[in-house]
Amino acid sequence: MYLKSTLSWNVVIPAANLDAKGLMLQKAIITRLMDDFAAKKASKDLGYFLAVTTVASIGEGKVRQHLGDVLFPVDFSCITFKMLAGEILEGTVHKILKHGVFLKSGPVDKIYLSHQKMGDYNYVAGENPYFMNEKLSKIEKGVVVRYLVIGQKYMEAEKDFQAVVSLEGDYLGPIS
């Protein structure tokens, strides 16, 4: 689910970028905030960081002793994306393995759908392998699937989420 969040961050501006003209300073702070925001990528609680939408306020700068940098508290709104257990989402198949498939939905591309959670779909080997059920419905590369999120894990090192999902339930599966 996409979420509009409000956050308060401290933005550090090196002394060299400080300019007497207020507008240039404001621009430097916002540019720095955007860079920090993109570099942050994701957090365990909020999920992925997509974009800063509005900057609500920039507070009084505080000089950091010895460094000469100035730290500005900034309040802003942004868009984040996080999958939730129990949520139903749509995604695209991008990899087929014998024991299951990998899907991607927006920023998350490690979404694993195990063969055991696919109901009556069976693996069909070949140059372009796929899964198929008795009704000849196919799960192959590029197909859009509606799935249920079972659980997810955040990996701090990569700043990335992994999720396991299922097709067990009504109205889940490939969508034409």
């Binding site: 990528k41 997509l50 749509e90």
Partner: protein
């Protein structure tokens, strides 16, 4: 929200942020990101270089998975769904998946039938009809 194990969107047991804060439908995110992207285009010749991978992948996703494209339609979808005392999260799941039948809607958002809230089938049916009308006239 205490333990992480308890999270279950089907019962609306989700982190507080998602209950209080504003959830966004894919079509709303699409409008915001596309606007943002246009702004970047005006400032630089190669805007794709300016955005993060998270931004790029999300933009592709919401463009592909938005049921409504026209900004007026997007506003109307939120307005119509807001009349039905839904949680923000429920509203957005319905707007994203656009279920066609009452049964499908309940399967997508099981919480609309629980928590003692009186969403009878008739009310859900009316809501889905209103939604499909927007789609038709978009």
């Amino acid at each position: 929200m205490s333990g992480e194990e308890e999270e279950n969107a089907a019962e609306l047991k989700i982190p507080d942020e998602f209950l209080k804060a504003k959830c966004l439908m894919n079509c709303e995110v699409s409008l915001i990101l596309e606007h943002k992207y246009e702004q970047l285009q005006q400032m630089s010749e190669d805007p794709m270089n300016q955005v993060s991978q998270v931004f790029e992948k999300s933009l592709q996703y919401v463009k592909r998975f938005s049921r409504y494209k026209n900004p007026d339609a997007v506003r109307q979808v939120r307005e119509i769904l807001s009349r039905y005392q839904l949680a923000e999260f429920e509203l957005c799941v319905l707007g994203n998946l656009c279920p066609e039948t009452v049964e499908e809607a309940i399967n997508m958002v099981p919480s609309i039938k629980t928590r003692g809230r009186a969403h009878d089938d008739e009310a859900i049916e009316k809501m889905l009809n209103d939604l499909s009308l927007i789609k038709k006239f978009e």
